[in-house]
Symmetry: C2
Subunit: 198 residues, 2 copies
């Protein structure tokens, strides 16, 4: 398949982005290609289009399967495997969020909990313990927030996102209710590091 200039630009850029997002370039390129192609492609075709080794494509497709981002789509009269991805970018987004949460957030939350469990040592430095506690609270909040979001229909999720910060109007006084503690977002030292560039 010969890519037109726009498709090429899209695929190449997505590949570069993938690198900064923890998937390697080829994996991201293949996903971008399947997305832009909008139809099932076989490994051979991908190999030729992206000009990488057949085996690399095979590995990358497996990686994409592990991410639940592609599935095989058998075609009648063709015994080669064909691969496709969702054409709905909101659904892809949801999948990526789900996967990254499972790979990055959940294990980190577990480690933070372990850090807090071993209480004997923690007493050495109560302030440090508090910061770990707050970090855990942040990650738990984001984590369950993400879980709730990805449960929504793409359509609904989009509306929620687009609604954006208007939400804060409903939030005034609505408490940090659930988990209780660790609210005050304690500024122990240092009044604030980040500048402000928007």
């Amino acid at each position: 398949m010969e890519l037109n200039p726009v498709a090429k630009k899209f695929v190449l850029h997505w590949g570069e982005m993938g690198s900064t997002w923890g998937v390697n370039r080829t994996v991201a390129q293949i996903h971008a290609l399947l997305f832009i192609a909008g139809r099932p492609m076989n490994a051979e075709e991908i190999t030729e289009t992206l000009d990488v080794a057949r085996s690399n494509v095979s590995m990358s497709l497996k990686e994409l399967s592990n991410w639940n981002l592609i599935r095989t789509a058998p075609l009648i009269g063709d015994r080669r495997d064909h691969f496709e991805t969702s054409a709905d970018v909101w659904e892809l987004f949801r999948t990526v969020v789900r996967e990254r949460k499972a790979r990055e957030f959940d294990p980190t939350i577990e480690v933070l909990r372990e850090c807090l469990r071993s209480g004997e040592i923690a007493k050495e430095d109560a302030a440090a313990q508090l910061r770990i506690k707050e970090t855990l609270a942040l990650m738990e909040a984001l984590s369950s927030w993400a879980s709730e979001m990805i449960r929504l229909e793409p359509e609904t999720m989009m509306k929620v996102i687009k609604m954006g910060a208007k939400v804060q109007n409903f939030v005034r006084g609505s408490s940090s209710g659930s988990g209780g503690g660790s609210t005050g977002a304690g500024s122990t030292s240092s009044a604030g590091v980040s500048s402000g560039s928007n």
Copy 2:
């Protein structure tokens, strides 16, 4: 500075996470160390604590400055530079979101717009063009959502996050108002790839 087991665990884990988040291990470790230490540290001290080369620390501190995650805190009677990070994890979170948006989202949005501008080629494949358009719409939505969020006080932001999906109750019928088009989240082909693991 000799790290206690919990601090060590925290620093090491954060270092590993950094790798999957596009900062290198040492950079992430130094930031974790400053966070857990809760006081300004000089480069020498960091070098000894983490057992890496002095020059590596220097480079990594510069990198952390570029991220706006640390600042120097001059100490009287000590002419060495001392570095500290915010003790407020919500503020750190805000900084990271701001930076990543600027580095990853904004450039990608720009590329997607370019992809759509060159209209002549795009006509070749209307479906592909539509998918790019929807991708752009998603990224713009997330981007401005993030901008709004990081403008909030940590306290407020936390409440909004904790409020979570309850927001959807306010969203019913509240339109995809603003930008107009590209709502329908069009499922052109492929009904849905991702499985469902929570």
